[in-house]
Amino acid sequence: MDDQNRLLLSGDEAIALAAWQAGVALGAGYPGTPSTEILEHFSRLGGRAQWSPNEKVALEVAIGAAFGGARAMATMKHVGLNVASDPLFTVAYTGVTGALVIVSADDPGMHSSQNEQDNRRYAVAAGVPMLEPSDSQEAYDFLFAAIEISERWKIPVLLRATTRVCHSYTVVRPRAGRDTPAAANFVRDLKARVMVPGNARPAHRRLRRKLSEMAEWNESCALNRLLPGDKSLGIIASGISFMHAREAAPEASVLKLGFTHPLPMRQIAQFAAGVQRCVVIEEGDPYLLEAIRAAGIPVTGKPEMYRFGELDVPRVRRILRGDTSAEAAAPAGKPPQLCEACPYRIVFDALHRHNCIVAGDIGCYTLGVLRPFEAIDSCVCMGASVGVGLGLRHVLPPDQACRVVSIIGDSTFIHSGISGLVEMAYNPPPNGHVVIILDNGTTAMTGHQEHPGTGRNLKHEPTGKVVLEDMARACGIPRVQVIEPRAGSDAFENALVEALKSRQLSVIIARRPCILVARELKEYEQRCNCHEVAEPCPAAV
């Protein structure tokens, strides 16, 4: 064994390393557990990586790079692909000139998410090819494969991973060297790239032809593996479920699918016919099961109770023996909470004491729902706080409406709260509204990434800065205040009370750095002020 060439990498790091070696010219994304480390690692390796304001913009930037003939990658968590789904469905029609890989990191079991949607459905809905790695080696290998498929069929490829692939560390034997892809170069192709109806109609037919070609190619594709075993039990599995299944039933015959859309149905039929009992082991939705059954192949799946949460070895054993008895509860641990010295505690304390109806959003501050505050009344998706708060204001009786506030973090506001603010200015509720932006100068929940409001890029270097209060004023919001929430100070509470009383449209920015990175943020700022850098600071030039 060559010990020198074994790396212990997370799935995210493996994707990043492969992207670097494959010559990916640009990686764009928005932070989201469990996808965040891909771009961070890609950047550390020397790749050009950037945080976009949201996943839709990230994918559009990557599409542009791929239209220009480059190899491009967009990364996001599963719910991020909802935001990016608009470009996804149409870039499937346009195709690309270079290569485009879209990494979707799903979170079955919702370790750090608001839902456990199964993004394999997107591959079917949008009509794009999909690869599902089961460990870091495959995450690494499949990134290269995704680029090959993308370039061969001129189509975006969905690389779909899950938490236990992204955040598990497994051994990777990397390839040597780096690819040198063709230089980016614009070639005009109006019919392919401009999706007016006259071009989109043939583009849709072209997409379906590509999919049927890929399905044929997939029948003998090395990304799927047949592991011969006992003929009494055959297992069809993909992604992390394959690993659990292999351990739960080491004797079984296994068809391990890596290229999971479009599916190699002849190979699946042949496998199912060769075993006495054929079971599909998959986490989340019965995506494989439904597709295989719809093709008339007799297979069984899992009882409905296993749709919820992650699979693991004991659950796969239960599925295989048809056990639907109640499962033991997971160890009851200490729940997370807002940090002891979190500046937002003052905010939630005030909201609680004034009995506010709080439309909340996505971030650490969602923990304001916990005791003692219990000061979040809704949490739907990124940016929803503003729109939901406005909707409540529009319909509730005045005594309730006047207590409604929206609360949103700085990064989330940039992501998709801005359009909510535009809505507020355009369709103001009769008694006004109060939006509180919790500006701690970082994307805290996902591990402290930069965003356009910090004025620093992914590498913490200075760049253009979106000033939140200026943006609010530019939208025409009459009351815009910036308050520093400090222990012992009632400045925030006073501002809140006055804003609620005013019945005007109001934005209160509660600005204080996240205590977990306050020191780092100060260092970045100093660097930005050119005190510690030898090279001229771009912001000062």
Binding site: M1, D3, R6, L8, T33, P34, H111, S112, D135, T163, R164, H167, S168, Y169, T170, V171, I240, M243, H244, R246, E247, D312, V313, P314, A328, P331, A332, G333, K334, P335, P336, Q337, L338, C339, E340, C364, L367, M445, T446, G447
Partner: protein
């Protein structure tokens, strides 16, 4: 591959992997401790998988991290009831996680270490690794090498001492046998 790994492989090829669960609260060094175990096992030539959960749980909540090593590892998660070792950085995390242990599995909690002898309070995680190391087939030097990679030079000596303190606390009472 070193001798310990070869010996373990030849004996244990058909045996299950060594399963370790590290439990604690966000910020206590659960991930760092698990990283070191995984690194030692990797350098000893084993197949290794480590699974961790990041994100919201890190805000002071309970954190557990799984590491498995052996001839060939499939699932990265230690199946409930199959952990050979439960390492708890917080005493209160021992009982809730006890169902993860197999029968005869070993628990190592903060009480295994004389806290007064720790060079720094924050080195408890590495001291517990010292206690764990006495049960595992990898050599002391391999642990120290991996600890050397894990910490900045200014924290290294304290962690080295903590590791040796933990290892000594168990060396007298335990025969170093690979878990099965």
């Amino acid at each position: 591959m070193n001798n310990a790994a070869i010996a373990m492989k030849s004996q244990n090829l058909a045996r299950p992997p060594c399963n370790i669960v590290v439990a604690g609260l966000g910020g206590q060094g659960v991930l760092a401790a698990t990283d070191i175990i995984a690194e030692v096992a990797l350098r000893a030539g084993f197949d290794v998988k480590k699974s961790e959960i990041k994100g919201m749980s890190q805000r002071g909540g309970s954190v557990t991290c799984d590491v498995r090593f052996g001839a060939q590892i499939f699932s990265p998660m230690v199946p409930a009831g199959e952990a050979d070792f439960l390492l708890a950085l917080e005493a209160a995390e021992l009982e809730p996680n006890r169902p993860l242990l197999r029968s005869g599995g070993v628990t190592i909690g903060p009480s295994a270490i004389d806290a007064d002898k720790l060079p720094q309070k924050k080195t408890l995680n590495v001291a517990l690794l010292g206690a764990l190391s006495a049960y595992l087939p990898m050599a002391q030097q391999q642990w120290l090498d991996s600890i050397g990679l894990a910490f900045a030079p200014r924290f290294l000596e304290a962690n080295r001492q903590a590791f040796l303190l933990g290892r000594a606390s168990h060396n007298n009472s335990v025969h170093a046998t690979p878990a099965a």
